[in-house]
């Protein structure tokens, strides 16, 4: 009588081979990128390019969770209502005054009839906004429906802009995902500081009003030169500018950007045709006045207007350092964020620490393996050696499975693998202890093995399923690194059940068939 069927070694062999096939690419150096940013791989052609993804905590990089400021998005929506609404109404000959706040716009008309007419015109433009009227005053707010749309568009637009910015610097494989309704998760490998990609960079150019005296008191802003040594000489007080709310031109009309280092370092940009026309008009009408170039609420430069500028070429000089100017120019070229973002969670790992973690994690894993291998061989002899084969194969299968699914290996994930090494032998221990009992009860080797596996099976299943339950909850609630731990733990349980229940059993049965022992060496 034979203990093995012909298909058993074939099946188990195929699975093990598949594991080796998918795990093997990890032995080769990681994918790198050539000058044209095309992936170069060291993995030889016969192997598919499956490699375990390394989490940011292992390869180094930035993890950042930001919240999009929806109040800011609301405020820009209200500004749109004010600007587009006023222009449309004026084009139709309706006289009005409009005052925008962060939450609504108040349109003041000559009388109620004018208001009612204007309301219909505005409704066509902004069908989802909220309209309340009182006499000749119409207040337009953002309705729930409009807010919902604005929210989605803003968050999507912010995400896309951040992606464009990161791409503009040629950084490798960033991952930028929207989470929940107003959060964006940004992961950039290999980079330790991404603060500059997250600035709003809203640029506009205004006319500086004469000190104190304004043309229209309702349409002016105070802006300060930033309190930074880039613009101010040491000891100099920040300068306060009174500028017109109405802008000559804004960042949306920027076409191309660059850095000019001819006379001092300047950020340069060219405007599109609309911007060129607006800027030409603005400068022509205000010769002798000053312009304020405003970036995110601060005047970064305030040049005098000496002549009309018709070329659409603008230069910002402001005591920049070259690198800084270069970065700003690149970022301005990608446009401003649709709303401000706030960092609420940041985790950065330097490349040095990541490499060290991989190294020490690998050493710990090998030492753990060594200890467990010796202990198992010493305790169970020949059967222990078979369990050891299973343990090594288990690690290969686990690596293969992680590679196949493109799972991300994190630092806690490495801990999960080490833990798997310790716990993987559990199934074999359960079986072997049972086999021992059977053998001592006088069963022959074949029967003891069969009976041991049979009796231990449901226990192994129960014990592993409960661990999987805990791991699944970890995966569901955890963030990045912890999910990595849960994934390796779960996959480790799957592969260890395969090796303990099928592989070792096959090895033992083959041995029983080959040697026909009268007594188990256990």
């Amino acid at each position: 009588m034979s203990y093995t069927r012909w298909w058993q070694p074939v099946l188990v062999g195929l699975v093990v081979l598949a594991g080796v096939y998918f795990a093997a690419p990890n032995l080769f150096p990681r994918t790198t990128y050539d000058d044209n940013n095309v992936a170069q791989s060291y993995v030889p052609a016969p192997f598919l390019q499956f490699q375990v993804n390394l989490g940011l905590d292992l390869q180094g990089g930035s993890y950042r969770l930001v919240r999009v400021d929806l109040d800011d998005a609301k405020a820009s929506y209200m500004q749109d209502v004010q600007r587009i609404g006023s222009n449309t109404l004026r084009d139709q000959g309706v006289a009005l005054r409009a005052i925008a706040s962060d939450t609504n716009v108040r349109f003041q008309f000559r009388d109620e009839t004018a208001m009612l007419g204007a309301r219909e015109i505005l409704r066509e433009q902004f069908p989802t906004a909220n309209y309340t009227d009182e006499g000749a005053v119409l207040t337009v707010g953002i309705g729930d429906e409009a807010f919902e749309v604005v929210k989605q568009e803003t968050v999507q637009s912010v995400r896309d802009t951040i992606e464009r910015r990161i791409d503009a610097f040629g950084l490798t494989e960033p991952s930028i995902r929207i989470q929940g309704e107003d959060r964006i998760l940004i992961e950039v490998p290999g980079v330790s500081n991404i603060d500059e990609y997250l600035e709003k960079l809203e640029l506009s150019i205004h006319i500086v009003s004469q000190a104190g005296a304004t043309r229209n008191p309702n349409e002016t802003l105070f802006m300060l030169l930033p309190d930074s040594d880039r613009v101010l000489a040491a000891g100099e007080q920040p300068v306060r500018y009174l500028i017109e709310r109405q802008e000559c031109v804004n960042g949306a009309d920027i076409q191309g950007t660059g850095v000019d280092a001819e006379r001092g370092i300047a950020v340069t940009f060219t405007l599109n045709s609309r911007g060129t026309k607006d800027f030409a008009n603005c400068t022509r009408d205000n010769i002798g006045e000053r312009l304020a170039i405003v970036l995110d609420g601060e005047v970064i430069s305030a040049p005098n207007v000496n002549e009309a500028i018709n070329t659409g070429a603008v230069q910002i000089t402001g005591g920049f350092e070259f690198t800084e100017a270069k970065t700003l120019a690149t970022l301005l070229g990608t446009g401003s964020l649709a709303a401000e973002v706030e960092s609420i969670e940041e985790r950065v790992v330097g490349p040095g620490l990541g490499a060290e973690s991989i190294r020490s994690g690998a050493i710990a894993c090998l030492v753990a393996m060594g200890l467990v291998l010796v202990f198992m061989a010493a305790s169970y002899g020949l059967l222990g050696l078979m369990a050891n084969v299973a343990l090594v194969v288990n690690l290969v299968l686990l690596l293969g499975l992680l590679s196949l699914f493109g799972a991300t290996l994190t630092l806690p994930g490495i801990a999960g693998i080490v833990l798997t090494v310790g716990m993987a032998v559990d199934a074999n221990v359960l079986v072997f202890e049972r086999v021992r009992e059977e053998a001592r009860a006088g069963l022959d080797p074949g029967d003891s093995v069969a009976s041991g596996y049979g009796a231990a099976f449901s226990t192994i299943l129960d014990a592993n399923l409960t661990t999987v339950i805990a791991a699944i909850l970890l995966a569901a609630f955890g963030t990045g690194p912890i999910q990595g731990f849960a994934i390796t733990l779960t996959m480790g349980i799957l592969t260890s059940m395969f090796t303990a229940l099928l592989l070792t059993r096959l090895l033992i049965n083959l041995w029983l068939d080959g040697f026909r022992p009268l007594k188990l060496p256990i």
Partner: protein
């Protein structure tokens, strides 16, 4: 082959349940002590749950922690926690979340702290950062000077997120415990489910107690460790319970404590083997693994120890406390191949007077089958032992034959 090491008893006969008063009280003391520590001393929460700004800095030369602390305090953002971390060139710096009236201001302050620290200790760029900076410097034809301090880790968790993380962590733990208990209830009797749930809570609470006593940093990985401990501990408990149920069905006439003792003794060798292999692996991780996850490893090691303890001395005695009775189990026709050894062990555990057995055998089975005597349960007159034993005897005699020929 070589002689096998028998670290653990093959044929142990420990009266675990006899110790139940002591061990249950001990567990109760551990639980109450942990709760007490938690309430009085609290946990050393990491920035994951408390919020704050953390830097792992590696300087180019040996530093004095006090100097670093003074320099950082001089920045004017309060006094950070500074501690040595690994070598004498490494410092771990934690700034508490700034007390700001709004989240916006809090974020602005955190950014200010980051900039100030980067100004004080210019970062040493590496990898892609370095390439970018060098490329820009080359383009602008200026000299690139790298900083000297390696920013190995920077973490910043806002106060709102830290609250969310704490909530999620607590929810995950509670759900995991309940889900595991539900699974046990589905697979076992209700007493087992409750005992398992209590044992799990015991392990989780004492782990929290350990973190409170030693003031280890309690952060997200710790929650992962606790859930893993729960998984490991239940693994252990399930093995014992599975065996307990099996023995209950086999000896459903016997006192429950006796049957549970049998189950514990028979799984003892396995319980200890698995604990040792897992501890060996974790020991390797503790000694050689990354420093960042050392507290995590300690939690796991503790979990293995407490999980093993609770399966043996807490979960199983609880079954007795809840009045589990072997009679509740239908006597299953168990595989008689196993029954032989089981009966021997049962006999040795109860130490029945040989004469009494012989007396029963005489009345039951007649004098020509004395070999069956060992397999009869003294307190069960209806026992069908002799019939079950028949097959086994044949096999035994088969094996003895070669010896007999010599």
């Amino acid at each position: 082959m070589f002689p096998l090491i028998r670290l653990f008893p093959q044929n142990s006969n420990i009266d675990f349940l006899g110790l139940r008063r002591i061990t249950l009280v001990l567990s109760l003391v551990l639980i109450l002590g942990s709760v007490g520590m938690f309430l009085t001393r609290g946990l050393n929460l990491g920035i994951d749950f408390k919020g704050g700004l953390l830097f792992d800095l590696r300087f180019s030369e040996t530093i004095a922690i006090d100097t670093v602390k003074e320099d950082l305090t001089a920045l004017g953002f309060g006094t950070p926690e500074v501690q040595a971390f690994g070598s004498d060139r490494d410092a771990k710096v934690v700034f508490a979340t700034p007390n700001a009236p709004t989240e916006d201001e809090e974020i602005a302050q955190v950014t200010a702290i980051k900039q100030a620290v980067r100004g004080l200790y210019p970062p040493k760029l590496d990898g892609e950062d370095l390439e970018l900076a060098q490329a820009a410097a080359t383009e602008g034809d200026i000299e690139f000077v790298n900083g000297s301090v390696e920013y190995r880790r920077v973490e910043n968790v806002g106060s709102k997120i830290s609250g969310e993380l704490a909530q999620k962590g607590a929810l995950a733990t509670a759900l995991a415990l309940l889900a595991i208990a539900a699974y046990i209830w589905f697979r076992f009797e209700w007493q087992f489910a409750i005992a398992a749930l209590l044992a799990l809570s015991h392990d989780v609470i004492t782990t929290i107690g350990l973190f409170s006593v030693f003031q280890f940093t309690f952060d997200l990985p710790t929650v992962a460790a606790i859930l893993t401990i729960a998984g490991y501990s239940i693994n252990d408990t399930v093995v014992v319970f599975d065996r307990a149920r099996e023995e209950m069905r086999r000896y459903n006439e016997r006192p429950v404590m006796e049957v549970l003792n049998i189950a514990l003794n028979r799984t003892l060798s396995r319980t200890l083997m698995t604990s040792v292999t897992t501890l060996l692996a974790l020991l390797a991780l503790f000694a050689f693994g990354p420093l960042v996850i050392r507290d995590f490893t300690i939690a796991l090691m503790w979990g293995v120890v407490i999980g093993t303890y609770s399966s043996l001395f807490f979960a199983t005695p609880l079954l007795v406390v809840m009045g589990l009775s072997a009679r509740a189990f239908d006597k299953k026709i168990v595989d008689d191949d196993e029954d032989d050894y089981a009966a021997q062990l049962a006999a040795s555990v109860t130490q029945i007077d040989d004469d009494e057995i012989r007396a029963r055998v005489r009345t039951d089975g007649g004098e020509d089958r004395p070999i069956e005597a060992e397999m009869i349960f003294p307190d069960d007159p209806d026992n069908d032992g002799p019939v079950q034993g028949g097959r086994r005897r044949v096999r035994k005699t088969k094996k003895k034959r070669p010896l007999g020929r010599k």
